[in-house]
């Protein structure tokens, strides 16, 4: 795909236009990122409500019917469901399984376990299983 940036600091308003043969999830997500202003999500930690920036999130997964968000050192409770937060996440995130979403920029490496399952080891040492079907998605994100 050809990409062209026209830089003009006199522009009254910045805008982006895409010429596509068909709309895909990738461009839909890109559109949301470019037009949206949300770059964080509100979460619970102990008795406080704190903002957690998307760029700091490593992993979001469901544990004991709760949505838990992990950054480098801490974890937070998100009040909504996984599919709800998935809709606002930028393109850095991909679904690892039915109960987990990972930030692919925070992946350290992958390991194939004895049982044939594949674990993603995040940079904060957290392990999360990734579905074999999602390996293809991860390859695409990494440009392979």
């Amino acid at each position: 795909m050809k990409v062209k940036f026209n830089i003009d600091n006199q522009l009254p308003e910045e805008h982006a236009e895409f010429w596509l043969k068909k709309m895909t999830d990738k461009f839909s997500q890109l559109g949301k990122e470019l037009s949206g202003e949300q770059d964080m999500v509100w979460c619970n930690q102990d008795d406080e409500i704190v903002p957690v920036k998307f760029e700091n999130i490593y992993l979001i997964q469901v544990e004991s019917e709760q949505t838990v968000i992990y950054d480098e050192a801490q974890n937070y409770r998100y009040k909504g469901r996984l599919y709800q937060i998935k809709n606002v996440l930028p393109h850095d995130f991909l679904t690892a399984s039915r109960s987990a979403i990972i930030n692919y920029r925070k992946i350290d490496h992958l390991e194939i376990m004895d049982g044939g399952n594949i674990d993603v080891i995040m940079k904060n040492q957290i392990r999360v299983q990734i579905s074999r079907r999602k390996i293809k998605d991860l390859k695409e994100r990494l440009g392979l």
Partner: protein, 140 residues
Amino acid sequence: MKRVTSFLVSGMIGIGIGMVWYVVETMLQTGENWQHVQVSFTSLIFWLIATFAIGAFFNLAGLVFEQTQWSLRKQIIVNFFVCYIAYFAFELVINDFFLSIKFFLVVTGAFVLMYLIAYGLYFWQLYQDVKEINQKLKEK
């Protein structure tokens, strides 16, 4: 739509593998005169339909791998036996239900070989993908 496409592609792959098998089997049976063999059109149509059905069936049997709560070992075992039963039944039908020890051993052996090739290739590719991903992650 994706599921239908996948189903059709599997059927076509079944035809591909089945036709190669048919050609090799015919050549082995006819020996030196393989160049002059004449094949019945009915037989060819039957093989086309049957191999498509087998390929498509393998696709459906692959739904077992969507049971993510099962371990990979369990998924493979269930998938293996589901496919084996269907394949064995198919072979029994085309052999007029004539069951013998030799028939059982040949059919089982052929199936195990096909299964090993098909899934062996799949998991080898997966292993290569993981290796490639880790290499890319190291570069970052």
